[in-house]
């Protein structure tokens, strides 16, 4: 998930509910391993809230403008779940969890070797413009998101589909591997087994869009979205407000509960909080501002309306393995032992948990028993001396210049100075830090805050490729430590080839080992995993996990309701 964050509060939440159960295992429990096309799906039963009431309208506020609602392009944390409520994709998640369930496809079959997926579409799903969805729409949508003309940031996720390379270099107009068997059946062939494929089919980028609407609006489709989702866009006043209205023809019965959602733009988090307290606003979309956090949590009445959840997020310091002296492992280990993570967490009002490995706790593959590096400045100094740098050295620490990141950087700077490392802080605009990180000798150290990695989908491989794999260690890449371990790359590919859901545990274990090996090499210092806090008004109802929904941020618009109707 793209994380254009400007504060620790304004961060997306992905999953705490089913913390250690690998996502894929929940679904195809009835799969026969030797059949080529056994009906391989079991919809995990989701019991809707019996107390849910129909009707009502809510107000949600955001500070930043919503860029676009085009599912092929939208990659901000604001529009991510708006798009989820306006559009649908073949796969979906059980509300409040990271468990996959069928979406627009009511069932699917996977071939034995895991490279052919056959999706059976639901009948009678209507787009907001009234037309029924067919397999052609699926093909059109997938072609659209992978063609260079659309300039989709998410095109790369579809790399495992056969014919992707030809789409990417422009030599093909359509994905070879996607075929419409009949109006309600789509067959997708992969060029290699991909354990993350079903998650990719649940991403916003895989949303199904109607060709005629896209052609009618052209590049402005993002301002006039037409999808199959629970809500439709009723009004958009640029820079001020968006209004969603219930889709009466939504294919899922009973939802959404709300009639209308109004998003007010340009609201400072502090103003939003004050308006929440006065009853004008139901959810401050950017979360609780740090300045008010203590005050809110100290008030029992307000605290009761705050839901806390984990996120699939880690904040870390990267050390550029191509720049001296970070090419020495002892130096990197020393840095790992020099950082006082508890103090940093305290600086951000304890809104995070100290981290000792790259993966966040709610991600499959997280190793609870992993100990990591202890906070031991004395030992750190020893290690530096071992590396021949007893007198320390001078370096630079890059950081994004919006609060609280410069503060965190200064805390890191102080920790480093305790062991003799003098780090000059370079606080720059986000884009400039990213540019520096993408250059081989651009940035020796980077604090990832504000740009920190958040998983696009709840799978351990998402934390590897772009930021720790060899593929990311290229100019303009996001592997800011320029760490490239070919062995681990191979192991990662192997792990991702394990598509059999029954072997999900084994796959998770492989990933744990991979990340353990990474920590042994220590290109990063994992510092903390942010928690997410959503505050709601008194009238909002629904299970807690809907308010820290891993996939729908900040809340699952489809399933929440208000209690003051009827």
């Amino acid at each position: 998930m793209k994380a254009w964050l400007t504060s620790t509060v304004a961060a997306s939440a992905l999953g705490l509910a089913l913390a250690t159960i690998p996502a894929a295992a929940q679904d195809s429990s009835a799969k026969a391993p030797d059949a080529t096309s056994a009906a391989a799906v079991t919809e995990v039963a989701y019991t809707p809230d019996p107390g849910a009431k129909q009707g009502g309208a809510i107000v949600i506020t955001y500070k930043d403008d919503v860029a676009t609602l085009d599912p092929a392009i939208g990659y901000d944390w604001q529009n991510w779940s708006m798009i989820k409520s306006l559009f649908g994709a073949l796969m979906d998640y059980v509300p409040g969890t990271t468990t996959l369930r069928p979406g627009l496809a009511e069932s699917y079959d996977i071939s034995e070797d895991g490279t052919v997926f056959t999706f059976h579409l639901r009948k009678g799903v209507k787009f907001h413009n009234g037309r029924e969805m067919t397999a052609d729409d699926v093909k059109y949508s997938l072609d659209r998101v992978t063609t260079p003309k659309t300039q989709s940031p998410g095109a790369g996720f579809f790399g495992s589909i056969k014919g992707y390379d030809q789409m990417a270099d422009g030599s093909a107009e359509s994905l070879e591997g996607v075929t419409t068997v009949d109006p309600l059946t789509v067959k997708i062939e992969l060029s290699r087994p991909d354990a993350t494929f079903l998650h990719v089919m649940a991403l916003n980028f895989s949303s199904i869009v109607p060709k005629e609407a896209v052609e009618e609006f052209g590049a402005d489709f993002g301002k006039h979205p037409v999808g199959t989702g629970a809500f439709k866009l009723a009004e958009w006043t640029l820079g001020q407000r968006l209004v969603f209205q219930k889709n009466p023809d939504y294919w899922r019965d009973g939802v959404p509960y709300l009639d209308q959602i109004t998003f007010e733009i340009g609201q400072e988090p502090i103003v939003a909080l004050l308006r929440l307290q006065s009853g004008e606003v139901d959810i401050p979309g950017d979360g609780i501002p740090p300045a008010k956090f203590q005050e809110v949590m100290n008030d029992p009445e307000q605290k009761a309306r705050v839901v806390e959840g984990g996120q699939l997020q880690t904040g870390y310091i990267t050390m550029n393995t191509q720049i001296e002296p970070f090419d020495k492992k002892e130096v990197r280990e020393a840095v790992n032992m020099a950082i006082n993570k508890d103090r940093i967490v305290q600086m951000i009002n304890n809104r995070a948990l100290p981290a000792n490995q790259p993966l966040p706790p709610s991600m499959p593959g997280y190793d609870k028993s992993f100990e990591g590096y202890p906070y031991d400045p004395a030992k750190a100094k020893e290690m530096l001396a071992e590396a021949g740098l007893a007198d320390g050295f001078q370096t630079e620490l890059f950081v994004m210049n919006t609060d609280p990141n410069p503060r965190i950087a200064q805390a890191i700077q102080q920790d480093l100075s305790q062991i003799g490392i003098k780090a000059d802080i370079q606080a720059l605009a986000q884009a400039n830090v990213i540019a520096a990180g993408g250059e081989k000798d651009g940035a020796p150290m980077i604090w990832s805050g504000g740009m920190a990695w958040i998983a696009d989908f709840p799978d351990p491989s998402n934390f590897y490729g772009p930021i720790l794999g060899c593929d990311g260690a290229v100019p303009g890449g996001w592997n800011w430590s320029w760490y490239c371990n070919e062995e681990l790359d191979k192991k990662a590919a192997e792990a991702d080839a394990i598509v059999d859901p029954a072997k999900a545990e084994e796959r998770a274990k492989m990933w744990s080992e991979i990340y353990g090996a990474i920590m042994a090499d220590a290109p990063w210092v994992p510092v903390f995993n942010e928690q997410r806090f959503t505050m709601k008004s008194k009238r909002m109802g629904g299970a807690d996990n809907l308010y820290v929904d891993p996939v729908h941020i900040p809340i699952n618009y489809d399933y929440v309701f208000v209690t003051d109707v009827q």
Binding site: A67, L238, Q240, L274, D471, G477
Partner: protein
């Protein structure tokens, strides 16, 4: 007059061309790669190159600039990299808010500045005069973001008299207008004072007094209208200061105008928007200067149109 206008128009076009070239060049030189911003984190190098090609950002500088100019001539300010909407649409949607804010600021400036200047001139040499002049100095020296935050804190947060930022009603307009207008009020009060002093020294004023007209009549019916003119002429120049001020003031108050748009665009390296707002601002400044230069000779015959 026509010749003068024609000449100024031609000069203005050249100036705006120059502004567009310099801004384009500066943005071209930015170390941050806008394509990376658009492509996001999970994009493969291939995707990034594709996007770069689609947007024409792999072309040499002059080609890119040429294409931009071509679009400009047709009224097309390009498309935002990140929002994919036309820049013209985005700017037009937000321009009314900025214009409203500027109107409010001008109203404040004039109300405050003219009043202060008038009183100071009439009470020239007294403590009141000194105090008012110090006040005007403070107005000119105060950083706008501090004034904005201060007003917000005292009048909105603490006293609750006004909403805490935002847009929509008259009470939303008050604090941002005052913030933006205090700077101009400082200038205008001093100008008004000296202008008024000059006018009050004129023979015709003394004649009017000698004729027995009441002091207030003389003041308001004879002196004031003449004194105001030079001040009014300066409003056009103000536009330049406004264009800088709105970036900060709209940010502090969450006012949905083009200043806020520009600031967001700068943070996200959304070059077409930055270009668009800069050009629109430059247009406004050039127009404002032109207005002031045209109006002034009518007011002060010593000054000729050059």
């Amino acid at each position: 007059m026509i010749a003068y206008l024609a000449r100024r128009f031609f000069q203005s076009v050249l100036i705006l061309l120059g502004v567009s070239l310099i801004t384009f060049a500066l943005l071209y030189l930015l170390p941050a790669d806008p394509v990376r911003q658009i492509a996001g984190r999970s994009a493969t190098p291939q995707t990034v190159e594709n996007i770069r090609r689609e947007l024409g950002l792999d072309q040499p500088f002059l080609v890119q600039y040429g294409r931009y100019l071509l679009g400009l001539v047709q009224g097309d300010l390009g498309r935002s990299y990140l929002q994919r909407s036309e820049v013209t649409t985005l700017v037009m949607a937000r321009l009314p808010a900025t214009l409203l804010l500027m109107a409010g600021a001008i109203a404040c400036e004039l109300a405050l500045g003219l009043t202060m200047g008038l009183i100071a001139a009439v009470k020239r040499g007294t403590a009141t005069d000194q105090a008012l002049m110090v006040g005007s100095f403070i107005g000119v020296s105060a950083p706008q973001f501090v004034v904005g935050l201060l007003l917000l804190y005292v009048f909105a947060v603490r006293l609750g008299w006004f909403p805490i930022g935002g847009y929509g009603t008259f009470s939303h307009l008050v604090l941002p207008s005052v913030t933006l207008g205090i700077l101009g009020a400082g200038w205008y009060s001093r100008m008004m004072r000296s202008s008024m002093i000059d006018v009050l020294r004129q023979d015709y004023i003394r004649t009017a007094r000698a004729k027995g007209l009441a002091r207030s009549t003389v003041l308001f019916r004879h002196a004031l209208p003449n004194a105001i003119l030079p001040v009014i002429a300066m409003i056009g120049i103000d536009i330049g200061l406004f264009m800088s001020g709105i970036v900060v003031v709209e940010g502090v108050f969450g006012w949905p105008g083009i200043g806020q748009l520009a600031w967001q665009a700068i943070q996200r390296v959304d070059i077409p928007i930055i270009m668009g707002v800069t050009l629109v601002s430059a247009c406004a400044i050039v127009l404002g200067n032109l207005l002031a230069d045209i109006v002034t000779p009518f007011i002060d015959p010593r000054i000729k149109l050059r």
